[in-house]
Amino acid sequence: MSVTTTNSNNASSAASGANSPSQVIVREKEAIRSWKAPISFAVFAALGVVLFWILGRDAVSNFRLSTDTDVIQLASVDLPTQLTGIVISLALILITAYSFWLSVVKRPTPIWVVTVYGVLFMVGFLTWAGAGESILVPGLLLGAVGLSIPLIFGAMGGIISERVGVVNIAIEGQLLAGAFVSAVVASVTGNAYLGLIAAMAAGMLVSFVLATFSIKYLVDQVIVGVVLNVLVLGLTSFFYSSILTENSSLLNSPPRFDRIEIPLLSQIPIVGPVLFRQTLIVYLMYIIVAVVAYALVKTKWGLRLRSVGEHPQAADTVGINVYMTRFWNVSLAGAIAGIGGAYFTLGSVGSFQKDMTAGAGFIALAAVIFGRWDPIRALLAALLFGFATNLQSVLAIIGSPVPSEFMLMLPYVVTIIAVAGFVGKVRGPAASGKPYIKG
């Protein structure tokens, strides 16, 4: 929106420029002093000082940077736990001070400072938690990506559906339907690709119900979504118990996608094996996120989709068919979420299990909102959640002084802090959740 205004201002000043070239409109900028970043920094710096310095443990933390199968073998790094903790605490304090100074002079804290701060804190935390132990860094990241993939697919489905004006609570149902159908179809045909296509069809079927009820019959979208989740869970559990367990070799032992190594890229130390030694579904995820992020803002499809989600009356008056745009985009959202479902069976676990999505659809929904309905931000939110979940798992294995129940809360706590600290107020698409009645 702001770009358009600036352009028209420039255009008008250019038009009037013939008469008075000196009259260039200079817009006054109101500097806002925001204390959010420095205060968040201060809280974490205090935590860092207490944990890494005062409670610092006298040991050596070992970080292994290469897996056994990597071509380029990096030596493992030994960090003295206490000294590293002290150095990192001091660095955190310095960055906090810098951020306070920026706020005093009414300048925002740049995103790279936040990133550096986050990485430093994480290194400090891992060094502290892994005192006397050894952490495989690519393993930590690989697990994080693995846990995020269904969330990312779900979030992309959620974004498309909500940006076009239909609240998609049914992501969980779409994931589960995709997981179930892909397992059965891939087992029967012995072909994982057919399973993937079937998963998209299954996600789409769930979407058809959501779209029909919310667009044609104007039923409350939240309720349709919730009912669909319960319905899919009930149906898949029933068929799993009554049919799949009886004939598991025929119906529930799908072939899995093989890992495809991308030449050269997969040899990059640390990130190579994490990002470029993955299955087809993960590469599809990269493409879908990139395409959705680009197409939502740069193409006719994206513009129409957003206009229907923001102001359907206006879209209708310029000749966009609101109902059809909504229907087909909600269906597309279901197909994308369906791929996320196929990841559970064809990409990861290798068979369908009852309720195997275990609430991933709801976390994906959260990622949509934390990501402010933006594909890239939602991707980051999903990755953050996946990372926190895997961090919890790794720390529990190497032995953490924190009780397991509290460790299991970690992903949720991190997400809440990230949202409260760095996201702030969010505003969804204006017409999301509101049925459009023509006339």
């Binding site: 846990l147 309720d355 529990a396 397991s404």
Partner: protein, 358 residues
């Protein structure tokens, strides 16, 4: 807007109600056939969220009930729970159908069982994996699985070539952690006997903290937890909790390393034939034996509330055969295990877990 919402809410409630009614109708004929049987004794069972097809303790319990019922010539009534909120309504529906003995499968059903047992003193209850309820009509069926897991820990330590073995659980509840306690103690016993230094990752007995997936679903979390153990070089993995071993199996296949697993509850070599080549052995918990004992006693009118405790001594718990691995384990291991088993039964090798049945 709000009228639409409210209308829709009512519609949703109405359809839920209709579904509940239909579900209620569906179970009614089962009750009729049961009472039409040769005897008017009706044994019943409620599963936990795992369901009766969990290849684990719900399934073992269900099979024990079926076996006992077939022998008695009666038809059992069973109901599966999908979530914790189903426990109380499911028990109540069995009470309403005139059950004489209701077996509730799992520690998580303790509260619901206790409430129903106190409200229905004429009906007998049996609960698996919980001994917290003290009532004249409640018989706990519990297992000192730490004893069998101790043997499994010894086997794992003996088999490991990397010197690291790992375990992870579904939820941190006593019926799960008792396996992990026994396993870690068994490894420690091996280290003491053989002056070895095999390390266990995933569970700390002293602190009672460790690696858990947060539920009993075989999903991506369980695979990641197993992957974490593999990243720590573990080559024997002991996943404790219903079907989560299925995810661990995929992590092992992905790693392409010679890693093996130890099953829980049932002999996984037999119950999971697709991946039987990954199972070194299994820790057996004979839930079925306990259930059929109690069912037979109740049918004969000799029900009492003294706990049934499965131990190595009464074969309520045990270690499965090595099957394919019998040639790969160290020679003489079976003999050592027999000595240890005798020692545990005699009490000369103490196996204690904070979660052991009191």
């Amino acid at each position: 807007m709000s009228t639409i919402t409210r209308k829709a809410a009512f519609a949703g409630l109405a359809s839920l109600g209709a579904i509940a009614l239909l579900a209620g109708c569906a179970s009614a004929p089962a009750a009729n056939t049961a009472s039409a049987g040769a005897s008017n004794f009706i044994p019943c069972m409620v599963s936990d969220a795992g369901g009766f097809d969990d290849k684990s303790f719900n399934q073992s319990g269900f099979e024990g009930l079926k076996a006992a019922a077939a022998k008695l010539g009666v038809t059992p009534i069973t109901t599966q729970s999908a979530a914790e909120t189903d426990f109380a309504p499911n028990i109540q529906s069995l009470v309403d159908q005139g059950c004489n003995l209701i077996t509730t499968v799992g520690f998580l059903l303790a509260d619901a069982t206790k409430a129903s047992a106190l409200a229905n003193p004429t009906i007998n209850f049996a609960i698996i994996d919980d001994s917290s309820i003290v009532a004249p009509n409640v018989k706990p069926i519990v297992f000192d699985t730490a004893q069998a897991a101790f043997l499994a820990g010894y086997v794992a330590a003996s088999y490991s070539t990397t010197g690291v073995v790992g375990t992870f659980g579904g939820m941190q509840i006593p019926p799960v952690t008792i396996f992990m306690d026994g396993f870690v103690d068994g490894v420690a016993y091996y280290n003491a006997q053989k002056s070895a230094s095999v390390k266990v990752v995933g569970w700390d007995v002293a602190a009672q903290t460790g690696s858990f997936t947060g539920g009993f679903a075989a999903g991506v979390e369980a695979k990641t937890a197993a992957q974490g153990l593999i990243d720590q070089n573990a080559d024997v993995i002991f996943p404790v909790g219903g079907p989560i071993f299925l995810s661990a199996a995929e992590a092992i296949k992905d790693s392409a390393k010679p890693i093996v697993m130890i099953g829980v509850d049932a002999d996984a070599f037999l119950t999971a034939p697709d991946i039987s080549s990954l199972f070194l052995t299994s820790v057996l918990k004979q839930v079925g034996v306990g259930v059929s004992d109690v069912t037979n006693a109740a049918a004969a009118g000799t029900f009492d509330n003294t706990p049934f405790v499965g131990t190595l001594a009464n074969d309520g718990v045990g270690l499965a055969p090595f099957h394919d691995f019998s040639a790969k384990v160290k020679s003489g291991l079976q003999a050592e295990l027999d000595v240890i088993k005798a020692g545990i039964i005699a009490g000369t090798i103490p196996v204690v877990s904070p979660s052991s049945p009191k």
